[in-house]
């Protein structure tokens, strides 16, 4: 038995949440300290997993398997491959930076961080993180679903309690119902797969590796692929089911937006890939055109809607729809380049969008407005945040030497191989993205600062700076040294291609 590193990573947030709930409510700094320590612990363990994953060997590693309910074939079965390892690292990074951003400032003029009931906030946030880690490492379909649902419901409370007072009730309920509907639709599909694989193989098992060889018929796959894939993809923000996502992002407090756009949307995409495409590959081929259509629309439409927003946070929210559309577009190619790009884009976008939301949150906490026309000249008071945002913007536009390029280039290559005109249409989004990023960077950070802000706006805290630095570091690292991640994701893609029959 090896060192059970994956279960330790997964259950660290849960244990931390339980400890926090036992601390008296008024001892806010102790709660924050526990959150930070456990986040650092989880981050370092996930980094350790990332760097010790044997890239030459590939496949599932760090495997742990415990009987959980043998009568129904449910195991606590953990393992990571080239696709999920970067996502585990991403979760660690976002968790760490999210805690830093939420630390808060005792300055009364700055409403930054979480001052109201931080104990409950961090506990719910960490329960969310528990679910996220669980989904990424689970190789058992039941457990994957179990953790998936755990990652959904704390969002409601996090948004409704600590969110933006204007829209939080509406947005939180909308988000929860969308995600719940999506997940239960996939649940029907998952149960159908479970029953049919039992009829085919005579073994009651939720083991996904076992299900890969369950021999689902073409008809079965054609029927169930769409519910399963789209049900999960709702959380990935796929058009036309993306509506919850910008509303949810805007209403959520900063750290939750980071978690949400940075990690949760990957959860949806990842589950759609792992359950939809990998277990029902023939169904994926059958419906490939539809997924490509949905994703293509999301890419261009999301970018355009982001372009016309005047609310800074809505802009970032819609840009997430556009970028997650690229992930789905990569999935829909079902070829090596596209899937490789999607794997990288999930990581790159996660880090980038976390940074975006962090900076937007910092500005809003100080200026109390997110309307782009009302902002300006922020670089003078918060140069660090401005530079961070600009780096994120360059990633978003897909500039070479930043992670966005490394991720988006293979996606377009893959799409070109499959349907060249989709690639042409989707590439419009790059131009629109460049336009809105550059325009808004100019309006918000440069130019004249409105008079009402003069002297009122303070610089960001040291914790904020650490968070921004961490996030930028990963984007630049992946940009100038793609070998940091490409071979690993490539190993994961090989496994998917094997299931797709060496397309």
């Amino acid at each position: 038995m090896n060192f059970p590193v994956l279960s330790i990573i997964t259950f660290t947030p849960l244990v931390a949440a339980l400890i926090m709930l036992m601390i008296p409510a008024h001892r806010k700094n102790e709660v924050r300290a526990i959150a930070l320590i456990s986040a650092i612990f989880a981050l370092s363990l996930s980094a350790w997993v990332y760097f010790t994953y044997d890239q030459a060997a590939g496949g599932y590693q760090f495997i742990e398997k415990y009987d959980w309910l043998p009568a129904l074939g449910i195991n606590l079965y953990f393992g990571v491959d080239g696709m999920s390892t970067p996502l585990v690292l991403l979760t660690g990074v976002v968790m760490f930076t999210g805690v830093l951003i939420s630390w808060g400032d005792d300055d009364k003029h700055v409403m930054s961080g979480i001052q109201d009931r931080p104990r409950e906030f961090f506990a719910f946030l960490f329960i969310l993180a528990w679910g996220v880690f669980g989904v990424f490492v689970s190789l058992d379909l039941f457990m994957l679903f179990f953790f998936y649902e755990i990652a959904v419901f704390p969002m409601y409370l996090l948004i409704v309690i600590w969110g933006w007072a204007v829209t939080r009730e509406y947005a939180a309920m909308k988000l929860t119902l969308y995600l719940f509907i999506g997940s239960v639709i996939s649940l029907v599909g998952v149960l159908a797969m479970y029953i049919v694989q039992y009829q085919n193989t005579g073994v009651l098992s939720f083991d996904m590796l076992h299900m890969e060889g369950a021999g689902f018929s073409q008809t079965f796959q054609n029927i169930w692929f769409l519910p399963v894939f789209l049900g999960f993809a709702v959380l990935g923000g796929i058009w036309p089911f993306h509506n919850w996502s910008p509303d949810g992002h805007v209403a959520a407090p900063t750290a939750v937006s980071m978690f949400h756009a940075g990690v949760l949307m990957k959860l949806g995409a990842f589950a759609a890939l792992r359950v939809g495409i990998m277990l029902l590959p023939d169904g994926a081929k059958y419906w490939q055109w539809l997924i490509m259509f949905f994703a293509g629309v999301a890419v261009v439409y999301g970018a355009y809607i982001a372009f016309v927003q005047t609310d800074f946070k809505y802009m970032v929210g819609f840009s997430s729809v556009s970028h997650m559309g690229l992930v789905m577009l990569g999935f829909s190619t079902l070829n090596r380049e596209g899937l490789l790009g999607s794997g990288l884009q999930m990581f790159s976008h996660g880090v980038m969008t976390a940074l975006f939301f962090a900076v937007v949150g910092m500005i809003y906490d100080r200026a109390h407005t997110r309307q782009i026309p009302e902002l300006g000249g922020m670089i003078k008071v918060m140069p660090f945040a401005a530079i961070g945002f600009i780096i994120g913007g360059l990633v978003s536009m897909g500039m070479p030497s930043f992670s966005g390029f490394v991720a988006e280039f293979p996606i377009f290559l893959g799409v070109w191989k499959e349907q060249w005109f989709v690639a042409v249409i989707a590439s419009i989004s790059i131009i629109i993205t460049a336009a809105y990023i550059l325009l808004n960077v100019r309006k918000v950070f440069f130019g004249q600062m409105p008079e009402k802000f003069e002297g009122h706006i303070t610089n960001i805290t040291a914790f904020d700076k650490v968070a921004i630095t961490t996030l930028c570091l990963f984007m630049i690292l992946l940009g100038i040294y793609p070998n940091f991640m490409v071979p690993m994701v490539d190993k994961g893609v090989e496994n998917i291609l094997r299931l797709l029959g060496g397309l």
């Binding site: 709930l21 409510a25 009987d67 959980w68 309910l69 043998p70 009568a71 129904l72 009931r117 409950e120 039941f142 679903f145 179990f146 953790f147 649902e149 755990i150 959904v152 419901f153 409601y156 409370l157 409704v160 309690i161 939080r168 009730e169 309920m173 929860t176 119902l177 719940f180 509907i181 239960v184 639709i185 649940l187 029907v188 149960l191 159908a192 479970y194 029953i195 039992y198």
Partner: protein, 482 residues
């Protein structure tokens, strides 16, 4: 001849009887303000009875004892333990209930109805079954109308009584027809008789419909649910909790044994009829829950919907289905008792039962709010609470039996459920009291509440995470049906 098997088969009932007599003897010696201690005695006694029964009264191979009146098997045993557990929790919750907890006879009536439920779960003869159902119901009629000074409680008791009598009589008519057709009242012999074609399909459907009226009342499925909201709202809250959990589960225990064991010959018809009823129950129950503003009525209607979900497992009519019903009920008993217990503990201090009045609860007592979160998320069907895994197993059974449409409907209903359960949580966590001074309005828990709610919360989380033992017991119970 009284053998050890006979003794073991009714060991829990004997213990409950002893406990009841003990209560009768001791209670008069207590002073007025000490009478509340009857709750400790009842809860403790039930807990000890559970321990003794598990240690010495476990069933082996299913056997018929006491002249074929009692079936001694895991199905009955597991249900018995559930009822006694629910009874113990209810006794604790009753202790600080005004005008109820100070009265020793309330606990005695509770014990009497648990005795009846235990017998409902094990009866293998129509006559025994009817007696058991009456033993359960009569004390509950009294308990529902226990608070004479309160018109609502009186109304609840009376309504429950009238509905109960009407439906049981119809069921009794059904039983008599069964005897007329088959010539036996033994549930296990009935199956053979009907296998031989003693009753035509048309008469079978008629008879089953009559029986279903009685059982449908117990488990409160649509269209026999009308009593539930009024009775739950009017009766003392702990009794409402008990009615919505243990009494409902007892109805299901009878339902699965009667239909699975005695009427498999007509399974094709009744599974379909029950599927329709299940669909209507879930949908109507959920839609009626949406506009409720009183928390007890909300829980009442949602408990109607939960009967619909559990029914999917019955409809499936396979081993996984039977196991899933038992499993679902175990989780549901713990969850709904917890929900009612919290309502009890909260409204005891505030005196209010509207959902609106839960504003600011998380600041008035954060622990209680977390418990409420566990209960409501479990009712929604969210992990890591009991409601999730049990619902998934029920749905899996439905899909295995080919009732995909019913499962899809169940899932749509779960989403509706999520809406109103989360809505309550919004009041608990987001809204504040009108004057925002929650610190000065704490909601303290007395010791019986703390114990009962703590145990129930742990139970809800344990069933939802370490679900293997619970499922295995449910599975063992289900195995006895086939």
């Amino acid at each position: 001849m009284f053998t050890s098997v006979m003794f073991a088969s009714i060991l829990p009932e004997i213990l409950i009887l002893i406990l009841g007599m003990l209560l009768l003897i001791i209670e008069p010696f207590w002073k007025e303000e000490q009478r509340r201690n009857a709750g400790w005695l009842t809860a403790g006694g039930l807990f000890i009875s559970i321990l003794i029964s598990v240690l010495f009264g476990q069933p082996g191979e299913p056997t018929a004892t006491l002249g074929g009146m009692i079936r001694f098997d895991w199905l009955g045993f597991f249900f018995k333990m559930l009822f006694m557990f629910a009874g113990a929790a209810t006794a604790l919750l009753m202790m600080d209930s005004e005008r109820l907890g100070q009265r020793g006879e309330a606990y005695l009536l509770l014990l009497a109805s648990i005795l009846g439920m235990d017998l409902m779960a094990v009866s293998s003869d129509l006559i025994m079954l009817f007696l058991a159902i009456e033993t359960t119901s009569i004390p509950l009629y009294v308990l529902a109308g226990f608070i004479l000074a309160d018109d609502k409680s009186t109304e609840a008791g009376f309504k429950y009584l009238l509905f109960g009598i009407l439906t049981t009589t119809i069921m009794l008519y059904g039983f008599s027809l069964v005897f007329g057709f088959a010539g036996t009242t033994d549930l296990y012999q009935l199956a053979d008789m009907f296998q031989g074609g003693n009753m035509s399909l048309i008469s079978a459907i008629g008879v089953l419909a009559l029986i279903l009226v009685g059982i449908g009342f117990k488990v409160s499925i649509v269209p026999f649910h009308f009593w539930a909201p009024d009775v739950y709202e009017g009766s003392p809250t702990p009794i409402a909790g008990f009615l919505s959990t243990a009494s409902k589960a007892a109805g299901f225990a009878v339902l699965v044994r009667l239909f699975f064991v005695s009427f498999p010959a007509y399974a094709g018809s009744w599974t379909f009829a029950l599927a329709i009823l299940s669909a209507i129950t879930m949908t109507v129950g959920n839609l009626l829950t949406l506009p409720q503003s009183n928390i007890k009525r909300l829980l009442a209607y949602s408990s109607v919907a939960h009967a619909g979900y559990a029914m999917i497992g019955v409809v499936a009519f396979n081993q996984l289905g039977a196991a899933s019903v038992v499993f679902y009920l175990a989780a549901y008993i713990a969850t709904n008792l917890l929900a009612f217990g919290i309502v009890m503990a909260y409204s005891r201090i505030t005196g209010l039962e509207d959902i609106r009045d839960y504003a600011g609860m998380s600041r008035r007592n954060p622990i209680l709010a977390l418990m409420m979160l566990s209960a409501f998320l479990s009712l929604t069907g969210m992990p890591p609470f009991a409601g999730f895994v049990t619902k998934v197993v029920v749905f899996a059974a439905g899909i295995q039996a080919g009732y995909t449409w019913l499962v899809v409907l169940g899932i749509i209903n779960s989403v509706i459920g999520a809406y109103y359960y989360l809505n309550v949580m919004k009041f608990v966590y987001l809204y504040r009291m009108p004057n925002e001074d929650e610190e000065n309005h704490p909601v303290p828990l007395t010791r019986p509440y703390a114990i009962a709610l703590g145990v129930l919360t742990i139970g809800v989380i344990l069933i939802g995470t370490f679900f293997a033992p619970w499922f295995n017991w449910s599975d063992a119970a289900a195995l006895n049906l086939f």
